[in-house]
């Protein structure tokens, strides 16, 4: 039997939006709840549009965030502008909140270098999404080390999935974060599936949060589909890290309602019944039911919100489609601070190749 480690688990709302106990004081702020709800709805509508664009061949492979919106929205809401996000590839929700533009996300997944511009100053120090698994956890420790060396009260926030917690990079990151008591928060989106591998065969420990215990710092679990709970625990984690009390590993229990990416077909490895059951727990309906029960939300507001968000998404799609083609230089200009003189010939060759192919759009 695995050694039993008792860790906190937080949930305020039942899947049908009923209050299970006392809420923290901040939850009385209905404007805040409305903003959180709005951001989840916006994320989902954008996410659905991105999948539709992939299905119609207008962007490439995309990693949907369906069903896990509460985690990213909580992280994006709690982080300060001066904090730094070191995300992974299923972080559309939090990236939107950090000021990454929808059209940039579409350009990126649409294979266009300009999608990496992050033109909004709020996100200026945020990392691009990390594709190799768990490596970002170490980059976050480096960012947090810089904060600590300079005596800044900033937090590095990094995200990953449940599968990433199996990788050496993740464990080496936990180890150094604990050894140096770094101001870093590890947010694990435990959506139960690493492509086709379920959580139960990913790791022998009863929880992923307890990996923090071996590294000498605080870990806890939260219902990642309960917007109120996950906001509360992300806030507590960031405050703890910001005030020099060390790192936190927050395991958010959620469910990947969609495929791993648009290139995946989850029906090959999990049952329709399981997914149907998971839909009963998803975060948007849950918060909506709570807000309706509190008398602060109704059908009229819902329709107005959806209409507003659809307009924002459509405008981003229009901007994405109007972006035109990128210059061939864009794949060389940022490889080195200055293109080395000794490679000048290669640059000329590539530009000649581009010129030769101009007018031939078969490779586009």
């Amino acid at each position: 039997m695995p050694h039993k480690v008792e860790l906190p688990y937080t949930r305020f709302l039942s899947p049908d939006g009923q209050l299970l106990g006392d809420l923290p004081a901040w939850a009385d702020d209905f404007n805040l709840l409305t903003r959180l709800y709005r951001q989840m709805v916006l994320t989902r509508l954008f996410d659905q549009k991105a999948v539709a664009l992939q299905r119609t061949g207008r962007i490439g492979t995309y990693a949907p965030t369906l069903g896990q919106e509460a985690i990213g929205v909580a992280v994006g809401s709690v982080m300060h502008a001066e904090d730094v996000l070191i995300p992974y590839y299923r972080d559309t929700a939090v990236q939107l909140m950090r000021g990454v533009r929808m059209e940039e996300i579409l350009l990126y997944w649409g294979g266009d270098e300009r999608g990496s511009d992050f033109a909004e100053p709020a996100a200026a120090q945020d990392f691009p999404i990390c594709v190799p698994i768990a490596t970002q956890a170490l980059h976050a420790c480096g960012v947090a080390s810089a904060f600590k060396i300079r005596g800044e009260h900033r937090v590095a926030v990094t995200t990953c999935g449940d599968g990433a917690t199996s990788k050496g990079d993740f464990l080496e990151a936990l180890n150094v974060a604990g050894a140096w008591q770094l101001p870093v928060v590890f947010v694990v989106n435990n959506n139960q599936w690493a492509i086709s591998v379920p959580r139960r065969i990913q790791c022998g420990a009863p929880t992923l949060a307890q990996k923090a215990i071996g590294a000498g710092f605080h870990g806890e679990q939260v219902d990642g589909n309960d917007m109120l709970a996950v906001y509360d625990r992300v806030q507590a984690a960031l405050e703890r890290a910001r005030h020099g009390k060390g790192p936190v590993l927050l395991e958010c229990l959620s469910y990947r309602l969609g495929d791993h990416t648009t290139a995946d077909d989850a029906t090959r490895y999990r049952s329709a019944d399981e997914v149907k059951q998971a839909w009963l727990e998803e975060p948007i309906k849950r918060l909506q039911r709570f807000m309706v029960g509190q008398g602060v939300w109704d059908e009229g507001r819902e329709q107005a919100l959806i209409s507003e968000c659809q307009g924002l998404v459509q405008r981003a799609v229009d901007n994405f489609e109007a972006a035109g083609t990128q210059a061939p230089e864009s794949i060389m200009d940022h490889v080195y601070a200055q293109w080395p003189a000794s490679l000048a010939g290669q640059r000329e060759e590539l530009l000649e190749r581009a010129a030769r192919r101009a007018g031939d759009s078969s490779h586009e």
């Binding site: 490596t135 170490l138 200009d333 940022h334």
Partner: protein, 328 residues
């Protein structure tokens, strides 16, 4: 330092002291680099001069070292990370290949990675297994990286300072065999050497000998032996193997018409292959003989009793020179 002369190892140490005192963003980290001053003592005295916040003894985890410097550099620090031996650098490889070398490109210049990864390289010190590697070609293949190998105290000093200044990631490989050999007079004046240039160590007109790292020593000795026979050899230390200063190599081989490349690494897909291919593209009709390579065979570095057999020596180089000079 004895008689005012410094070894390559002491030159590295002087450059680190100089860089840390010039720029407070420069930090040093790695295994045993603080209190112990590094297993070779390359970082000796830094902890006392600059404190534990800037000279950091790290946990024993090379993947961590490869990744954490990416985050530090992204925040404007200039980390100089020591990997204790080149044989242990591979755990950090994913971070060099997938992150450090392309962070600038992946963010369109918004986030950069001004870091230096230093590590001792090469055989010839009777070290245990995995302590004698010359795998520079693995790094030279990666766009976005610079790979620099000094072969004298002066070049170690000037190139390391330039590597730390450089806004992009640099893999800085220090030939272990040269660490304590051939001390040189060195003025600690902070003067940088260019990262994109070869160094012509000896001018000649009959044959061009190209090398880098510890093999430069035997290559120079071969040139001296050739001079005694009346053959004028030009010796070039490539020093920066990525990017390669092909123009200097081309000009020399165009002049001499003959070329021998010497490296301690195994032959197949070594940097010598890149140099030879590039020279054939540029100077084929000026060549009087095929280019010859003198290298280790394609085997792992052996246990130390036979390591000298693995490494090219002066006789091997002279043999190749004879082949090239007598070709008709």
């Amino acid at each position: 330092m004895s008689n005012g002369k410094v070894t390559l190892l002491e030159a590295v140490n002087l450059a680190l002291h100089r860089a840390m005192s010039e720029d407070e963003n420069v930090i040093v980290l790695g295994e045993d680099v603080g209190v112990n001053g590094g297993v070779f003592r390359a970082t000796q005295g830094l902890r006392d001069s600059f404190g534990f916040k800037r000279v950091i003894d790290s946990p024993l985890a090379e993947t961590m070292l490869g990744g954490i410097v990416v985050g530090m550099a992204a925040q404007g620090l200039k980390p100089v990370v020591e990997i204790q031996f080149m044989g242990f650098i591979y755990a950090a490889m994913e971070h060099l290949v997938s992150h450090a070398s392309r962070m600038r490109n992946r963010t369109r210049g918004r986030i950069t990675c001004p870091m230096v990864m230093r590590t001792p390289m090469g055989a010839g010190i009777r070290a245990p297994e995995h302590h004698s590697e010359s795998t520079e070609a693995l790094f030279a293949h990666i766009p976005g990286l610079r790979v620099v190998i000094p072969s004298s105290p002066a070049r170690a000093y000037g190139l390391l300072l330039a590597a730390i200044d450089d806004p992009d990631p640099v893999v800085f490989l220090e030939p272990t065999r040269l660490y304590r050999m051939n001390p040189q007079t060195l003025v600690d004046d902070g003067k940088r050497l260019p990262l994109d240039s070869c160094f012509t160590l000896r001018e000649g007109s009959d044959i061009t000998l190209i090398s880098w790292g510890a093999s430069v020593m035997e290559t120079l000795q071969a040139a001296t032996a050739l001079a005694e026979r009346g053959v004028s050899a030009e010796v070039i230390d490539v020093a920066s193997i990525k990017p390669l200063d092909l123009d200097t190599l081309e000009a020399s081989v165009r002049k001499t018409g003959r070329c021998v490349i010497v490296h301690e690494a195994p032959r197949s897909c070594g940097v010598g292959a890149e140099i030879a291919a590039s020279l054939y593209e540029r100077v084929l009709l000026d060549l009087q003989a095929p280019i010859q390579r003198v290298t280790a065979p394609d085997i792992p570095p052996p246990l130390y009793r036979l390591e000298l057999l693995y490494m090219p020596n002066v006789e091997d180089i002279l043999q190749a020179c004879d082949n090239v000079l007598q070709f008709s």
